[in-house]
Symmetry: C2
Subunit: 158 residues, 2 copies
C-alpha cells in the first residue's frame, strides 16, 4: 500500500475543521511533509471527487461531501486506484494441463479466495468514515487538538 494514503487520510480529517479552502502548502506545513508531493495526493483526491479545488489567491481545497459520508474506502480507492490488490493471471489456462477456456466460466478458485478476503477488507474500510476518525482524534488527543488547528487555519498564521 502506498504511503500517501496516510497523508490523505490525515488531510481529510484536518479539512473537517474548515469550511473555507485550505491551501496544500498549509496542509504540508501542518504535517511537516513535502508540499510538492502532498499536492499529488490531493490532486488524486480531487480527481476522485472527494475534495474540490478552488483556484486563485485565497484558494485551496474543501471537502465536497459531509465527513460522515466519506469512507476510508473512498480515500484508499482514490489514492491506490480502484483495481483489486490481487490480480489473477489465469495460470490455470497455461501449461500442459491448461484448463480450456470454455471450462473457465467461474473465476479461478485461488482468485476467488483472495478476492473474498479483499472484500472483507473493503467492507471494514467502508464501515468507517472521516467523521468517525475526527471523533476518535478528539477522544484520543482531546478536543483542543483539532480546535487549535481550526483557529490556526482560519487565522492565516504560518
Amino acid at each position: 500500500m502506498s504511503g500517501g494514503v496516510e497523508w490523505a487520510l490525515h488531510c481529510c480529517v484536518v479539512l473537517t475543521t474548515s469550511s473555507a479552502p485550505v491551501p496544500a502548502a498549509k496542509l504540508a506545513e501542518l504535517h511537516d511533509v513535502s508540499g510538492s508531493y502532498l499536492a499529488k495526493q490531493l490532486q488524486a483526491l480531487a480527481r476522485a471527487g472527494l475534495i474540490h479545488s478552488v483556484q486563485g489567491k485565497s484558494g485551496g481545497y474543501v471537502l465536497t461531501r459531509a465527513p460522515q459520508s466519506i469512507t476510508l474506502l473512498d480515500v484508499v480507492r482514490a489514492i491506490d486506484g480502484p483495481g483489486p490488490t490481487f490480480v489473477c493471471t489465469e495460470i490455470r489456462q497455461r501449461g500442459p494441463f491448461a484448463t480450456p477456456a470454455d471450462a473457465c466460466t467461474t473465476p479461478c478458485p485461488v482468485a476467488r479466495a483472495m478476492w473474498a478476503a479483499e472484500d472483507a477488507w473493503r467492507q471494514a474500510l467502508a464501515a468507517v468514515t472521516i467523521a468517525d476518525l475526527a471523533r476518535d482524534v478528539d477522544a484520543t488527543s482531546g478536543p483542543e487538538a483539532l480546535a487549535g488547528i481550526q483557529t490556526w487555519l482560519s487565522s492565516g498564521a504560518g
Copy 2:
C-alpha cells in the same frame, strides 16, 4: 501485492497431489512460468517452513504440514513478508501541532482503523486452507485435473 503470491498458491495446491519431492523446474513447466523466478518464491516458502527442500538427484520440494493446516495467510506472509500493509509514520508527532510523545500511549486513530481492516483481511485469509483450495479445484475443473497432474508428476515425463 506481489504477483508471486499467485504462483506460490498454485504450487502449494499442486504439491498436495505428491508425497515425493517435486523439482522447481517441473512446477515451472507445469504452470508455464519462468523457472528461475519461481525458484525464488519457493525459497521464500522454504524459509517460512511451509515446504521442505530435498537436495540431490531426485530432490525437490515437499509440503512440511498437512494441506488442511496451511492457511492462505501463511503463504501470503511468507511471500510478501509479515509486516503490516499500512505503515504508520506517526504524522501526529510532527509539525507545529505535534502531539507530544507522552500522550501517544495508544496508536494513532488513523492507523487503528486501517489495521482493523487488515485484521479482517487476515482473518479471512486464515480461514481458508490449501486443502480447501484443492477441493474447490476438484469441484470446478473436475477431479481428473489434479489426478492427471499427479500421474504426470510421478511418471517423470516432461
